[in-house]
């Protein structure tokens, strides 16, 4: 088998490393471009966070001046959301969707490349705002605060978001079209891998909500540059309108950040537990339910913005309702694990890390969904702890899980497992140590977004800072692992995990046109147990196909 795979790749031209720096229309190149650039931004955003945590180790603003702290905080949030997690979701989608549906490229390959090449300029614009006075109003940029300080930094922030927003809209058009229109003949919607379902749900959210953020940013930009007063109460405008428009995107954005990674987890768990996924349709439909509910809950970010009581009740109820489809997913994953032959490799460890952290984040989410509790902890560190459990403990853990799972497919090399486990242990400890104390700090009343605080909050802040340093250290084994495995790792067979989705039917890494011949769907994506021990044996596959044709 291994020999066959090597012959195959030998007969087909491979991508040169320089292709990864060009306007290449191959979806696999674009996927890697997205992944690598998003990780570059992750390190930048992470460095900002480390400076902030260093500052917060002491109650006084003695490490960086308060203005710089505000700028770092604003850019940390913006970078991590718009330039790391969202593009990382797009990275997996770009790399995997055409392979999973058995086609040779996206529906619109050039559009796809345009979508990627909008993100680096977006990031550069954002970071270059330091030269003109970076924005200081937080990643939400609420007016009138955002109208008061540094006009040009704020404007660059807006431009940057418009670029990356455009990028994700173009990506979404591509994903939906490819998933709905380009599957191989035998694959109906219900035999499609769950990652594709997740991306379908994510892309619909992007198409409906991202443009509304564009509308908000356009109006904000007019306020900044042209002197209108859409959001400026001094000129008769209403800042709450901005909040509505902003959260109409930015709440769904939470699901745009997590849904692709729900998809990743749905792929990782059945493969490494060697079991059919439990509740395929439940997982697929709950993604769509989350998308729909995600669109009608935005005002739960605005319980303290003078929202009338009856409206708060509506948003409280719908927000809590999201726990239902999310719970369905969690139970399905646990059901899949139940009695499985679990292989505790790095991908699976991160999947476990995801399950446990995301569950905590989800539960605190239900807590802050309730109006009386939210009014108490609004804009405190409790909220910071909550969303870091969801977005770091959730999205980022699943992202790492996906990286370890598909690393052999993307590079043709196996990862170094001991380094992967070290990465997991450090990340897991660091994550909990950083973000768990924040819940307590919030309950004690420590405000978020500030550089100085009361002395009584210091012990827990020191704990949190130690956690942040642990997280910084945890990236070393990861980076070393990636580079070491890339050059020295053991050569990967075409299907090292004996998985059943179509991307494993081609060489690792896949040839330029993806499949040497149209792939054959001889069982569902998670039908482990129909003699899957032998899936990567060419002959067995042929026999099974013949059987399927005969029956």
């Amino acid at each position: 088998m291994t020999i066959a795979a090597e012959n195959l790749t030998a007969n087909h031209p491979r991508r040169k490393w320089t292709d990864y720096f060009t306007f290449c229309v191959d979806h696999k190149v674009i996927g890697i471009q997205y992944l690598v650039s998003s990780f570059v931004f992750f390190f930048v955003g992470g460095a900002f966070a480390e400076v902030m945590r260093t500052e917060l180790a002491t109650p006084d603003p003695d490490v960086v001046p308060p203005e710089l702290y505000n700028q770092l905080m604003t850019l940390h949030g913006t970078i991590m959301i718009f330039l790391w997690i969202v593009p990382a979701g797009a990275a997996f989608a770009n790399y995997l969707i055409p392979l999973m549906v058995g086609t040779e490229d996206m529906a619109f390959p050039r559009l796809n490349a345009v979508a990627f090449w909008l993100t680096p300029p977006g990031g550069i614009l954002l970071i270059s705002s330091f030269f003109v006075g970076a924005p200081q109003a937080g990643w939400t940029s609420y007016p009138p605060l955002s109208l008061l300080s540094g006009k040009w930094g704020e404007e660059l922030w807006i431009l940057s978001l418009l670029l990356v927003g455009t990028s994700s809209i173009l990506g979404a058009i591509n994903f939906v079209t490819t998933i709905l229109k380009m599957r191989i003949k035998d694959m109906d919607l219900h035999s499609m891998p769950l990652f594709c379902w997740a991306m379908l749900a994510t892309s619909s959210l992007i198409l409906l909500s991202t443009p509304v953020l564009a509308a908000a940013l356009i109006l904000l930009s007019f306020d900044l540059i042209a002197g209108t007063s859409f959001f400026n109460p001094a000129g008769g405008g209403d800042p709450v309108v901005y909040q509505h428009l902003f959260w109409f995107y930015s709440h769904p954005a939470v699901y745009i950040m997590i849904l692709p990674f729900f998809g990743v987890i749905s792929e990782v768990i059945p493969v490494h537990a060697r079991k059919p996924i439990f509740g395929y349709r439940a997982i697929a439909y709950s993604s769509l339910a989350i998308s729909f509910l995600g669109l009608i809950v935005w005002a739960h970010h605005m319980f303290t913005s003078g929202t009338p009581g009856w409206l708060r009740m509506f948003f409280m109820a719908t927000t809590m309702l999201i726990a239902v489809p999310t719970g369905i997913k969690i139970f399905s994953w646990c059901g899949t694990l139940w009695g499985g032959k679990i292989q505790l490799n790095s991908a699976m460890l991160f999947a476990f890390g995801f399950l446990s952290s995301f569950m905590i984040g989800g539960l605190t989410g239900v807590m802050v969904a309730s109006v009386p509790f939210d009014i108490h902890v609004h804009d405190t560190y409790f909220v910071v702890g909550h969303f870091h459990y969801v977005l770091f403990g959730g999205s980022a853990f699943a992202l790492f899980s996906g990286v370890y799972h598909w690393f052999p497919k993307m590079t043709g090399r196996m990862v170094n497992e001991p380094l992967g486990r070290l990465h997991f242990i450090l990340t897991f400890i660091g994550m909990n140590l950083t973000f768990m104390p924040m819940h307590e700090l919030g309950l004690m009343g420590m405000n978020r977004r500030i550089a100085l605080y009361d002395i009584e909050f210091q012990p827990l802040n020191i704990l949190s800072t130690i956690g942040a340093y642990t997280l910084a250290v945890s990236t070393f084994p990861f980076v070393i692992n990636v580079f070491w495995s890339l050059f020295k790792g053991e050569k990967a067979a075409r299907n090292p995990w004996r998985a059943l989705t179509l991307e494993w039917q081609t060489a690792s890494p896949p040839i330029i046109e993806n499949f040497e011949e149209e792939p054959v769907l001889w069982c569902g994506p998670y039908d482990f147990g129909i003699d899957t021990e032998l899936v990567d044996e060419e002959e067995t596959v042929q026999t099974l196909i013949a059987d399927a044709a005969g029956s």
Binding site: T103, E104, D105, A107, F108, P109, R110, L111, V114, A115, L118, I158, L159, L162, L163, G165, T166, I169, L170, A172, I173, N174, V176, T177, L180, K181, M182, R183, I184, K185, L207, L208, S209, T210, P211, V212, L213, A214, A215, A216, I218, L219, S221, F222, A226, G227, T228, S229, F230, G235, G236, G237, D238, V241, H244, L245, F248
Partner: protein, 211 residues
């Protein structure tokens, strides 16, 4: 800034759609000829969502402010924008005749009707310019004026872009003889975009001028 993103989205999409259109059976071997139109529809969904955001903001202002339009706002003339609306809406029908013509392989018909549509589009924009210069208010006069200029201006930008699509169809049809009865995706995409711009105008006209 508007002029950066919106045309960029559309032009990227249309160039890609055209490229798949000319270069490849590669993507149609799964038997889905309607792939490209599907992409255009998704793009228009996203476009509608921007307008939805702007209209919603307008409606909130309208319902929250004590007086709307605020005192001191000059009365909007209805005659000129009314005529303009009629021209824009009828241009959709004119354009449709062009699409029907190319379905019958009638290139001359396509050029005639699309040419007429382009002229009607230009008249609409000229009318809008005339209105802008004769209104006794500016972008920052008050909240209503700001909303008025941003909404109609953003729509005008889309008309301009639709016009560019129409002109590019005309150019291709004349210079390259690009379209025929069984391959006229560009014509249909331009038409769909133009209808979209029309529908948005009808909503905008009702919201801003009539309500």
């Amino acid at each position: 800034m508007l002029s950066i993103t919106i045309p960029m989205q559309t032009s990227a999409l249309s160039s890609d759609l055209n490229s798949t259109y000319t270069s490849g059976e590669t993507h149609s071997h799964h038997g889905h000829p309607d792939l490209r139109m599907f992409g255009v529809v998704l793009f228009l969904v996203a476009e509608s969502a921007i307008f939805l955001g702007l209209f919603t903001a307008y409606l909130i202002y309208r319902s929250v402010m004590p007086a709307w339009p605020p005192e001191g706002t000059p009365e909007l003339e209805l005659l000129l924008p009314g005529i303009n609306s009629v021209i824009l809406i009828s241009s959709s029908f004119v354009m449709h005749k062009g699409q029907a013509a190319i379905r019958n392989n009638d290139n001359a018909g396509l050029q005639k009707w699309f040419g007429l549509t382009a002229i009607m589009g230009i008249i609409f924009l000229a009318g809008q310019m005339y209105e802008y210069f004769h209104l006794e208010m500016g972008l920052t006069t008050n909240l209503f004026a700001s909303c008025f200029y941003v909404l109609t201006g953003f729509h005008g930008l889309h008309v301009t872009f639709g016009l560019m699509l129409i002109l590019s169809v005309l150019w291709r049809s004349r210079r390259v003889g690009h379209y025929s009865s069984n391959s006229h995706f560009g014509v249909e995409a331009a038409e769909l975009y133009w209808h979209f711009v029309d529908v948005i105008w009808i909503i905008l006209f009702i919201l801003v001028y009539l309500l």
